[in-house]
C-alpha cells in the first residue's frame, strides 16, 4: 500500500464517505478512502427510496435538518455540472383518516419553521385532480413541492469519482481492522496492509460503532440496524402517480411511501423493522404481500401491475434519531455515524459540516483552484441514456436498455465493478422486468475475469 502520509483516511465508501471524500479533496486535503466491500455503496447506501428530501419534516433545530438543507442546496448547485439528475416530483403527505387530516396543519407549520416555506395544504378535490389514480379515500394532503427523486447510486458514485480525479486514492476490498494513534499520526491497519494518516473519518455506516471500538477503543453510540423492504412495480405503473405519496408519519417511522424512481419504475416501501444483523437484507413474502396490498389501497390500478423487483435496505440507525457526528480532537478522529434515513439527502451537507469540524481541529488546506469535474453515469429513463447515442452497439440488458459500451465502461472504468451488484448499480443491468432471464448468459461472458466471484464457470468439457 501507499506508504506516504495522508491528511485524512475516510473509512467506508457509502454515500456519506463518498461525499466526505469529495469535500475534503476539493478543500485541498490528500485523502484515501478504504472500503471493505469489492464495490462502493454496498452497505446502507445500496438500497433506499432515492428521495432528495427538503427537510420539511426533520426534527426542528437538529443537525440532521441543517445537513439536509445544506445538502439539498449544494445538490442544486453541482447538479448540472456533474450531470446529475433530479426529478422535481414534489410530494403529498396524504391523510387517509380524519385523525391524520387534523394533523396536516401541524405538518405544514413544522415545514415552515424548518424553512421549507413553499409547503401548503391541498384539499381532497385538488389532490384528486392532480393525482387522479389515487384512491378516493384520500382526504387531503400537504403539498411539498421540493421533494425530489434522484439516482441513489450515480450521485455518490460521481462524488467519489470527483475526489479520485482530483487526487484521492480509493482502496476497495480493504477492511479497516485495527489502528493506533501516536499523538500526531494514525497507523490504520487493513486487510490489505497499513496506511499512515494524520486524521481518520469514520463513515462506516452499519459498522460505525464497530470501527470506533476497534480503533478508538470506545464508541459513543450503538448501531441498531433497521430494515426497510420495497416492492417495485412494472414500468407501466410509473404513470400512475406523478408526485411522491407520503403517509402522515408516526413517532417511529416516515411510513410506507409510493414513489416513482428516475429509472422509470414505481415502488412501494419501505418498512421499518428493527433487527440485530448488519448484513441480512432478506425480504419476506408476507411483508411484500402487505406492501403490495398497501400500494393497491392507495393506488387501486396497481392491482393489474406485475412486480418487477423486490429489495431491502438496512438503515444504520442508532439509539437516537439525531445523526451521531462527533469529533475526538485529541485523537484526530471524527465519527460520522447514525446517518439513519436521510443520508442520501444530507450527504453533501454532512461533508461540509465535517470539514468544519476538521478545521476546528486546527487543520487547513488550500482549496483546489481548478478541480476536475467528471460526469455522472446517466441511468435516468428521461435522460440521455447511452442507447440513445450513436455507436452504442449492442444492447445487452434489454429490459433496462443497457449497452455493451456501458458495461465495459463500468468493468474497466476508474471504479471498476467487481461484483454483479456493483455492476447493477453502475449500469442497471438485470434490474428490469426479466431480472436476468435474457441477459445473464451474455453478462457472464462479458464479465469473465472481472468479478471477484464469477457469475458462472466455464463448462469443464467444452
Amino acid at each position: 500500500m501507499d506508504q506516504s502520509l495522508f491528511d485524512v483516511v475516510v473509512v467506508g465508501a457509502g454515500v456519506v464517505g463518498c461525499a466526505v471524500a469529495r469535500r475534503f479533496t476539493l478543500e485541498g486535503a490528500r485523502i484515501a478512502v478504504l472500503e471493505k466491500s469489492t464495490d462502493i455503496l454496498d452497505g446502507a447506501s445500496k438500497a433506499n427510496s432515492a428521495i432528495l428530501h427538503t427537510g420539511f419534516d426533520a426534527p426542528e433545530g437538529s443537525l440532521e435538518l441543517a445537513c439536509i438543507r445544506d445538502g439539498y442546496a449544494e445538490y442544486q448547485t453541482i447538479r448540472d455540472s456533474l450531470g446529475l439528475v433530479q426529478d422535481n416530483a414534489g410530494a403529498y403527505v396524504v391523510a387517509w383518516t380524519q385523525d391524520e387530516l387534523r394533523n396536516l396543519e401541524s405538518i405544514k407549520a413544522k415545514a415552515h419553521l424548518n424553512g421549507v416555506t413553499d409547503v401548503e395544504l391541498v384539499d381532497a378535490e385538488t389532490l384528486r385532480a392532480r393525482e387522479p389514480n389515487l384512491s378516493r379515500n384520500a382526504l387531503g394532503a400537504v403539498h411539498v413541492p421540493g421533494e425530489s427523486l434522484i439516482d441513489p447510486w450515480s450521485a455518490p458514485h460521481v462524488y467519489l469519482r470527483q475526489a479520485m480525479e482530483n487526487g484521492a486514492k480509493v482502496f476497495t476490498s480493504c477492511e479497516v481492522t485495527d489502528g493506533g494513534f501516536d499523538g500526531a499520526e494514525w497507523r490504520v491497519v487493513t486487510t490489505n496492509g497499513t496506511l499512515r494518516t494524520r486524521h481518520v473519518i469514520n463513515c462506516a455506516g452499519l459498522y460505525g460503532d464497530t470501527v470506533n471500538r476497534a480503533l478508538l477503543g470506545e464508541t459513543h453510540f450503538e448501531v441498531k440496524p433497521r430494515k426497510g423492504q420495497f416492492v417495485v412495480f412494472d414500468k407501466a405503473a410509473s404513470g400512475l402517480v406523478s408526485a411522491i405519496i407520503l403517509p402522515v408519519p408516526s413517532e417511529t417511522t416516515k411510513g410506507i411511501v409510493v414513489f416513482r424512481t428516475v429509472f422509470g419504475n414505481l415502488a412501494v416501501g419501505p418498512t421499518a423493522e428493527e433487527q440485530d444483523s448488519r448484513t441480512d437484507a432478506s425480504t419476506d413474502e408476507e411483508t411484500l404481500k402487505a406492501l403490495i396490498a398497501d400500494g393497491i389501497n392507495k393506488v387501486p390500478a396497481l392491482k393489474d401491475m406485475p412486480v418487477t423487483a423486490t429489495y431491502a435496505g438496512l438503515r444504520p440507525a442508532s439509539e437516537q434519531k439525531e445523526y451521531r457526528i462527533s469529533a475526538t480532537s485529541e485523537q484526530n478522529w471524527i465519527t460520522v455515524g447514525g446517518i439513519r434515513s436521510t443520508g442520501l439527502s444530507g450527504a453533501l451537507g454532512i461533508a461540509r459540516h465535517v470539514y468544519g469540524l476538521y478545521e476546528n481541529m486546527g487543520a487547513s488546506h488550500d482549496k483546489l483552484p481548478d478541480p476536475v469535474i467528471p460526469k455522472a453515469n446517466m441511468l435516468s429513463e428521461a435522460g440521455l441514456r447511452d442507447w440513445k447515442q450513436d455507436g452504442a452497439g449492442e444492447v445487452v440488458c434489454h429490459c433496462e436498455l443497457v449497452t455493451r459500451r456501458e458495461i465495459e465502461a463500468a468493468l474497466h472504468g476508474p471504479l471498476p465493478a467487481r461484483s454483479l451488484a456493483g455492476l447493477k448499480r453502475q449500469t442497471r443491468a438485470t434490474m428490469g422486468r426479466c431480472q436476468g432471464f435474457y441477459c445473464s448468459a451474455r453478462l457472464a461472458e462479458l464479465t469473465d475475469g472481472c468479478f471477484v466471484s464469477a457469475m458462472a464457470e466455464k463448462l469443464p468439457h467444452e
Binding site: T283, V307, L420, G436, S440, A441
Partner: protein
C-alpha cells in the same frame, strides 16, 4: 409513406413463420426485427429434441431447428435484422429502434408482435430470503449452458414441474450439473406422463405438495426451505435454485405503450385475427398467452402472416362490432382471443384458447348477462389447454359479452 409493409418484432418460431407466410402471400417488404445477435428465439438455447416434427417432419434439437427456421425465412426473402431492439411501439405502426449504428424510426403498414414468453423471476414470485447469487430461471441457465458454455452452479434444486422443468434436468445433465431435488407445490407433477417418471430416472428427488418458502445463503445460495402440505418445514442443501415455468408474455412493448393488455394472459388483447386495440398491430405466438410449444407458435405465426396479408389487401372485417370474451372463474386462467368480431367472415382463430389453473371435473359454460348460452363437459388438469370453437360462441352470444366459467357436476 411507409418504410416497409410489415415489421415483425421478434424472430422466434412465430415471427419467422409469420414473415415466411407473408412473403408466400406476395407481400413485398417484410422485415423481422430481432434484438439478439441471432434470430431463432427460445429454441436457440433448448439444446434437446423434440423440435421440428410439425414444421420439417424431422426430429431436431432446438438450435438446429432455430437455424432451419432462419434459413427458410431468408430463402423466402425475409429481411432479418438482428441486434435490433424495438424500444417503442407507437400509434399507427411507428417503431423506435436501437440498432448497432444508432437509434432510428421505422414506419410499417402493419406490425406483428411476436416477442414470446419468459419465466417469472424470483422477485415477482416474492420468494423470501436474502438476495444471493445462484437463483436463475431455466431460460438463463439454458443460455449459459448452450450459448456461452458456462454453468452457474453444480447442485441446484429445480422449482416447478411443468415441461420446462424437465428441460432443465436435461440442460443440467449436459453441463455436468447434478440437481438435488425437484419441488412442486401441487400434489402431482404438472407435466404429463412419461415426464413424471423422469426425475426418478435421472436421480433427482421429487418433492410434490411442497412449497419453496425461503432461499438461504450469505452471498451465494446455500440451501432452500420447503413447507409440505402438512406444514412440515424441511431444508435442502444446494448451491443454486432453478425457478422454472410460471410463464409470462414478454409484452413490455404493449404494456408501456398505447396497446391494451389483458391482465389475465399478460399479453396484448386481440381479436380472432390477432389484431390488437390499434388495428395496425397484430400479435402471434407465445406473446399471446403462456404457453404453447414451438410447433404451435410456428403454426400460429404462419396463419397470422396470412391474415395480415389479407388485411393489407383490405380483406379483413373492421374491428367492430365485437364482443368481449373473458373468464370468470379462478380455475380458468385466461381466454384468447379476448374480442370476437361479429362478421360474416368466419376466418381467424378457429378456437378460443383457455387454460385450466387446477384440476377440474365439471361443466365448462359460457354465459351472457348471467344466462347460459353454451356448455360442455370438462375434465382437465393444471396447465392444460382447452379449445372452444370461436363460431359456436359467436353465434350463440347474440351480440353480448361472454364470460366462461366452470359449474360443478350435478349428478
Amino acid at each position: 409513406m411507409s418504410d416497409v409493409d410489415v415489421a415483425i418484432i421478434g424472430g422466434g418460431p412465430a415471427g419467422l413463420a409469420a414473415a415466411s407466410a407473408l412473403k408466400s402471400a406476395g407481400v413485398e417488404r417484410v422485415v423481422v426485427l430481432e434484438r439478439e445477435a441471432e434470430a431463432g428465439g427460445i429454441p436457440r438455447h433448448c439444446g434437446h429434441p423434440p423440435f421440428g416434427l410439425r414444421e420439417f417432419n424431422r426430429l431436431l434439437t432446438g438450435p438446429s431447428y432455430a437455424a432451419r427456421l432462419v434459413s427458410s425465412a431468408q430463402t423466402a426473402g425475409v429481411d432479418i435484422r438482428t441486434l435490433t431492439t424495438v424500444v417503442e411501439a407507437r400509434a399507427g405502426g411507428n417503431l423506435l429502434l436501437v440498432t448497432p449504428t444508432g437509434v432510428t424510426e421505422l414506419k410499417a403498414k402493419r406490425v406483428i408482435l411476436a416477442t414470446g414468453v419468459r419465466e417469472t423471476p424470483r422477485s415477482a414470485r416474492l420468494v423470501s430470503g436474502p438476495r444471493v447469487a445462484g437463483v436463475v430461471n431455466t431460460g438463463a441457465l439454458q443460455s449459459m449452458v448452450y450459448l456461452t458454455k458456462r454453468r452457474p452452479f453444480q447442485r441446484p434444486v429445480i422449482v416447478g414441474s411443468e415441461l420446462v422443468a424437465f428441460s432443465a434436468i436435461l440442460t443440467c445433465r449436459h453441463a455436468g450439473i447434478r440437481p438435488v431435488a425437484m419441488i412442486e407445490g401441487n400434489e402431482r407433477v404438472t407435466a404429463r406422463w412419461p415426464c413424471a417418471l423422469f426425475p426418478r430416472l435421472a436421480g433427482v428427488a421429487l418433492h410434490t405438495g411442497s412449497r419453496l418458502v425461503e432461499i438461504l445463503g450469505d452471498t451465494k445460495v446455500e440451501g432452500v426451505v420447503l413447507e409440505d402440505a402438512k406444514g412440515q418445514i424441511s431444508r435442502i442443501e444446494c448451491d443454486g435454485v432453478i425457478l422454472s415455468g410460471q410463464f409470462t408474455p414478454e409484452a413490455a412493448l404493449a404494456r408501456s405503450g398505447h396497446l391494451l393488455v389483458d391482465p389475465a394472459t399478460g399479453g396484448p388483447q386481440v381479436d380472432q385475427w390477432g389484431r390488437m386495440s390499434d388495428p395496425t398491430y397484430f400479435a402471434t405466438g407465445n406473446v399471446l398467452r403462456p404457453v404453447e410449444t414451438a410447433g404451435w407458435s410456428w403454426s400460429e405465426g404462419g396463419r397470422t402472416g396470412q391474415w395480415v396479408a389479407r388485411d393489407l389487401a383490405g380483406l379483413l372485417p373492421e374491428s367492430e362490432p365485437s364482443v368481449r370474451v373473458s373468464v370468470n372463474d379462478h380455475r380458468l386462467r385466461y381466454a384468447v382471443p379476448q374480442n370476437i368480431v361479429l362478421s360474416q367472415d368466419v376466418g381467424g382463430m378457429r378456437d378460443i384458447q383457455l387454460r385450466v389453473a387446477q384440476h377440474v371435473d365439471g361443466e365448462l359454460i359460457a354465459e351472457c348477462d348471467g344466462e347460459q348460452i353454451w356448455g360442455r363437459k370438462l375434465r382437465a388438469g393444471p396447465e392444460q389447454r382447452v379449445l372452444v370453437q370461436t363460431h359456436e360462441i359467436a353465434s350463440a352470444c347474440a351480440g353480448r359479452d361472454v364470460a366462461l366459467r366452470i359449474s360443478e357436476p350435478t349428478d
